[in-house]
């Protein structure tokens, strides 16, 4: 409810005229939810096993690694940047952990794996912030370098996780799978950081207007560096979670994962232009994509149709985003004829 002492009458008039538009906007904001509901109902009709708790559990487990990486990506997208190297980071980290650290306990090898992810994220941050190479180009380079290094290390052969990793991947705590817990912790931490810490709010500020952020005295380079470091760690964590589930990594591990990851964030309402997006939305986007994939499998759809369906959903998300921008612009446009009469005085 807008209260404004500058134009009480004008605000009221604007509000009356804008109410219909606001309703449309709200409908668009909720469209991922509506889409989700439609998807669930359709697959529920197509496959009777679909609408069960077991399916839900499966969806979350399988979406976990994408969701974790997408949450890291959300930080980057909020600053109007992009991180294309997440899939390569997954592969490098998993290759190092399985090839060189297989004999160490997981409590040692996994944190080292995360540090590797952090390091690559920092390399991205360094080139973007200090050398001032565009994020797209920097992370495209680390994508190729990362995959190249991992392929070199593995000799393009399949690498295998040890039994501890496999056990961890099958462990339940309080009835929930380990990957769900990791996803949950990342979700909560990221949510709190973005919402309630100075760093989180400053990420939004930098994404909205980097020049104004610098003028306001924010340490813009440090914040940009930070988001790529976060994305690197999240990518490493996602890779490790994925490893616990599949126990082995072929030469295509993590290949092109940047696409579903970015798609999840965009589907959840994160803008590629920066400044807008939430962790909740991103997690939701990741779950939506996985729900569709699971539903397609369970309803025995032709596997070659999967990419088409996923592409259709992403297209819808982008379409909705464009509509939302257009309507928001219309909402802000000044209406002369019904404007506040007091304004003329």
């Amino acid at each position: 409810m807008t209260r404004s002492t500058l134009h009480p009458a004008g605000a009221r008039a604007r509000k009356a005229g804008a109410d219909g538009v606001r309703a449309q906007l709200l409908l668009l904001e909720l469209s991922p939810l509506i889409l989700f509901a439609i998807v669930v109902v359709l697959f529920g009709l197509a496959a009777d096993r679909f609408l069960t708790l077991a399916t839900l559990n499966n969806v979350v487990i399988q979406a976990a690694h994408i969701a974790i990486i997408a949450i890291g990506m959300t930080f980057v997208l909020l600053t109007a940047g992009i991180d294309l190297s997440v899939g390569a980071i997954m592969y490098v980290v998993v290759a190092i952990v399985t090839l060189y650290l297989g004999d160490l306990p997981l409590a040692v090898s996994f944190p080292i794996g995360l540090l590797v992810g952090l390091l690559i994220g920092c390399i991205n941050g360094f080139f973007i912030v200090v050398v001032r190479v565009a994020p797209f180009i920097t992370t495209l380079a680390t994508l190729f370098i990362g995959r190249g290094v991992a392929l070199f290390m593995t000799d393009t052969a399949m690498v295998f996780a040890n039994d501890d990793v496999l056990t961890l991947g099958q462990t339940d705590w309080l009835g929930l799978r380990s990957s769900i817990w990791v996803f949950g912790v990342v979700f909560v931490v990221a949510f709190v950081v973005l919402r309630s810490t100075p760093f989180g709010r400053q990420v939004y500020a930098v994404g909205q207007d980097p020049a104004a952020a610098a003028k306001a005295g924010l340490k813009v380079p440090l914040i940009l560096f930070g988001v790529y470091a976060i994305s690197g760690v999240c990518a490493a964590l996602g890779g490790l979670v994925s490893l616990t589930q599949v126990a082995a990594a072929s030469s295509t591990f993590g290949f092109q994962k940047e696409f579903p990851v970015i798609a999840a964030a965009v589907l959840g309402g994160t803008s590629l232009f920066g400044g807008r997006g939430t962790v909740v939305g991103t997690a939701f986007g990741a779950l939506l994509i996985q729900t569709v994939e699971t539903g397609l499998v369970m309803s025995n759809t032709d596997p070659y149709a999967y990419p088409l369906v996923i592409a259709g959903i992403i297209f819808l998300a982008v379409l909705v985003d464009a509509q939302r921008t257009r309507i928001a612009a219309r909402l802000n446009r000044r209406k002369i004829r019904i404007d506040d009469p007091q304004d003329r005085g």
């Binding site: 400053q202 104004a212 005295g217 009469p341």
Partner: protein
């Protein structure tokens, strides 16, 4: 006139500054007392911005003494300046639309729960925000997103931000350019309140009437030096202008021989668009300068956009040079000889990152495409561009390399004029062509307009400044609430009458 404590809050002495070996400030000095509003006026390039940027911590100074509350003041950056108590409210507001008011106010320095826990104290920032919003009389919740505030409200948030940081000195740089009249009055009320609370303010504006009304003292800068000043109530506007330009201007407007004909160039009949304009009819003749007056938000700029084919219209008939014109496509508008200088030259009129020459050439590129695959005929184009640039007297050496963003406001506007003059328009729509440019540049814009009508074009001149409409136009249309409410012929011009017709319909409509 109030008398101020002998002890100034801010004292500037012998300020010098050079950029790349060119000295831009020469021994600038002034003082500012608590509760005083100091008007700082001067043409663009006179050193106002540099002086304020030094005070605001944007640039370091070469030499000179500045004391703040008696202590030496050496800001290391904008943040440092704010923390010392000097807030600079820029012409373009520095607010983040995607954040709430309270987050905007504390963005650089959130109070935290503890040293180890980096969480924001939400209750505290809400409380402190509410307190400063009250000081600027803005009754909105601190959690409201800035995106939902009007321009005027955002300006108040900027002031609240300065107050929250404990500002002792607030610098306003052209604060009223994007405000409606009512919002401007509101701002002036707030400034008076802050003044009563002992806050010192520096007010920079090209609108000399405002400066005179609002300020206690006025300092005039020219070519980087203080050339005069005094108490605002003792300094006439004529005298201020004379100091600014360094010569007495007995005529603010260039002389012009009336050259109005009866030949219609642009005929508009019954033009309407729901929510925007209603039943607009007028005729612009060859050789005529037709003014459009009205308060901000009366539909003047929207009318211009419709005429140029940028915005849709539901009804109405338009003719250009006697031929029917659909007004649905700016390319068609340009082909028919219509040109449009928009009110926002930085966002809509210029490619800021491009050179002067590229900016001028842009709308004419099609005309210089050669026979072979449409390659540009560079030599011919360059010759024409140089000629257009000379015609408007852009004061810079290298048109091909100088970027538009590095020009002063006046020179930027001349670039926009030159790019349209290159197309030799028949109908030239000018929307606030003199906004934010200095007196000298204004005079030259007026001269260009006179030359155009003398050459047989028609000019539609939209302006908020009554004086320049009266000084320049053959006729003035007055718009209010999207309608034309009056037409004044040159013989019966008077600013009171025009203002009356701008206001009256609005008041009638309330009943």
């Amino acid at each position: 006139m109030a008398h101020f404590a002998a002890k100034p809050v801010l004292a500037v002495e012998g300020l010098n500054k050079s950029f790349f070996g060119v000295q831009v400030l020469f021994d600038v000095g002034f003082t500012l007392c608590p509760g005083e509003v100091l008007g700082l006026v001067g043409e663009n390039g006179s050193g106002k911005s540099t002086t304020m940027n030094i005070l605001g911590g944007v640039h370091p100074r070469d030499s000179g003494r500045i004391t703040l509350d008696g202590a030496p003041y050496e800001p290391r950056g904008p943040r440092d300046a704010v923390e010392s108590g000097v807030a600079f409210i820029h012409q373009e507001l520095n607010l983040f639309e995607n954040l709430s008011i309270q987050e905007n106010i504390f963005i650089a320095d959130f109070p935290r729960v503890g040293r180890l826990l980096p969480f924001i104290r939400r209750k505290e920032i809400a409380e402190r925000t509410r307190a400063v919003l009250e000081m600027v009389d803005l009754d909105v919740p601190p959690t409201m997103p800035v995106a939902r505030l009007s321009q005027g409200e955002r300006q108040l948030v900027e002031i609240a931000k300065a107050l929250a940081a404990g500002a002792k000195v607030i610098i306003f740089d052209e604060p009223t350019t994007s405000l409606t009249r009512r919002e401007t009055e509101r701002l002036f009320d707030i400034i008076a309140r802050l003044k009563a609370q002992g806050i010192a303010m520096i007010y920079i504006s090209h609108i000399l009437g405002d400066v005179k009304q609002l300020c206690d003292r006025i300092v005039v800068l020219r070519d980087g030096a203080v050339v005069g000043g005094g108490r605002a109530d003792e300094l006439g506007i004529e005298r201020i202008i004379a100091l600014m330009v360094g010569r007495e201007i007995d005529q603010l407007f260039p002389p012009r021989a009336p050259c109005v004909t009866t030949e219609p160039l642009l005929e508009v009949r019954g033009l309407s668009q729901p929510d925007v304009v209603r039943n607009i009819s007028f005729t612009l003749h060859r050789g005529e300068i037709l003014g459009i007056s009205g308060l901000m938000g009366s539909g003047r700029s929207e009318l211009a956009r419709i005429l140029f084919g940028l915005d849709p219209h539901a009804e109405g008939e338009i003719r250009v040079g006697g031929e029917p014109y659909a007004a649905t496509d700016p390319i068609d508008a340009m082909r028919r000889g219509i040109a449009f200088l928009t009110e926002d030259r930085r966002a809509e009129g210029l490619m800021l990152e491009a050179s002067i020459a590229d900016n001028i050439a842009l709308p004419s590129l099609r005309d210089f495409a050669g026979q072979f695959a449409g390659w540009l005929r560079r030599p011919q184009l360059t010759a024409q561009v140089v000629q257009a640039a000379d015609q408007v007297r852009i004061n810079t050496r290298d048109h091909a390399r100088m970027l538009a963003k590095n020009l002063s406001g006046g020179n930027q506007q001349k670039v926009v004029l030159a790019k349209w003059l290159l197309r030799a328009p028949r109908v030239f729509i000018l929307d606030e062509p003199t906004r934010g440019i200095d007196v000298g540049a204004k005079y030259e814009v007026y001269k260009i307009m006179n030359q155009m009508v003398a050459d047989g074009a028609g000019v539609l001149f939209i302006s908020s400044e009554m004086e320049e409409l009266i000084g320049m136009c053959d006729r003035i249309l007055v718009m209010s609430r999207g309608e034309i409410t009056a037409v004044h012929e040159r013989a019966e011009f008077s600013s009171e009458r025009i203002m009356e017709s701008a206001l009256r319909v609005g008041m009638d409509a309330v009943r």
